[in-house]
Symmetry: C2
Subunit: 183 residues, 2 copies
DNA sequence: AATAGTTGTTTATTATAACGCACATATGTA
DNA sequence: TACATATGTGCGTTATAATAAACAACTATT
């Protein structure tokens, strides 16, 4: 979806027309000048959030009614296109495939660990859970006192309220899928 | 909910911090200057929709994630506070209690008709339905060729694809609740 | 036809969003 | 300690959002 301005314009005009408002009355109700309203409807202006706010509250519609986001039902993500977060001199790379969205309560990464590399993550907040699946390689983990070994294809879930370490003791690169859940 | 600017600020900062982005990298990804990003986070700026758009797409979050509308689960509407749409010299008054919202597919009015008054509505688009309930008085209606009388407390549903007339032949004011449905 | 009222657009002015650059303050590295 | 790198904030300039008022186009009423 390109060009929100145009989009907002048609939405606003629809709402206004459906109610039989003129630009004048709409300006009265919303407190936004009718010139501005006209320009917005024509997509000629780039309104600020406060003007949008005035319009939304004045017309008693939600913000989204003006924006009219159509969430694409299918989203394809190319790993190549993601710029990873680099740690441990490039031997530990994090690819945020589905980054955090406040409305959801989780995010998803792909993690690559080079042979010999080990990485320790600080403990996260109370209630945070990690769901780890090993795609390639064999993973050694330290979680608190426990030592755990996870074979390729296997998974692990743990409360991330204590420091934990990912380690590649093998000779092959490790690829993980990690789901972080925030309660 | 007051002051969206502040709201957007904390939302943006949350998202950015959760991902470990600096203002610099966030500026890189979104194409919005880091000075602007900083001001937005502090609630010192009043961003335009295009900057919000850049931020949302760059960070791969939805608009609403930044706005974080919390739709109030309960909304009380005071009839007195609604300025009616006047027709027939003030003898036919329409109070939009729940005005049209594109996401919903209906809107709700209260209609008041003075004794002796009659009002004809043009036909609406194909598929539009009206749900009329008589709150007080006795209503006479003409829908196409049909003549219908509706007693107090009773209701009527009809396809509004032909012109229709509301008429008050009694001596008491008529109050209607009308639900318009748009397919 | 002439007048008055309502519609949406255009113009000039002002307020301010957005930028780039410089500054300040950490945080680590030799 | 000194140096280096990266963090967020402040400042001056430019671009433009927002307003008010004048304008043009259309409708209705006498």
């Amino acid at each position: 979806m390109e060009n929100i301005q145009k989009n907002i314009g048609v939405n606003l005009k629809n709402i206004r027309k459906t109610r039989g408002y003129s630009l004048d009355t709409a300006a009265d109700i919303t407190g936004v000048s009718k010139a501005m309203l006209g320009q917005i409807e024509r997509g000629e202006s780039n309104p600020t959030v406060t003007t949008l706010w005035k319009i939304a509250t004045g017309l008693q519609v939600s913000f989204s009614s003006l924006i009219s986001e159509k969430p694409s039902d299918v989203l394809q993500v190319d790993l190549q296109a993601i710029s990873p977060i680099i740690e441990s001199n490039g031997n530990y790379r994090v690819y945020p495939t589905f980054p955090f969205d406040p409305r959801k309560k989780f995010e998803i990464f792909i993690v690559e660990i080079e042979p010999g590399c080990q990485h320790t993550a600080d403990k996260h907040n109370e209630g945070v859970e990690e769901y780890v699946t090993v795609m390639t390689g064999k993973l050694d983990m330290h979680i608190g006192e426990q030592k755990i070994q996870i074979e390729q294809g296997n998974s692990l879930r743990f409360l991330a309220n204590k420091a934990h370490t990912y380690k590649n003791s093998g000779s092959e690169i490790i690829r993980l899928q990690v789901v972080m859940y925030y309660p």
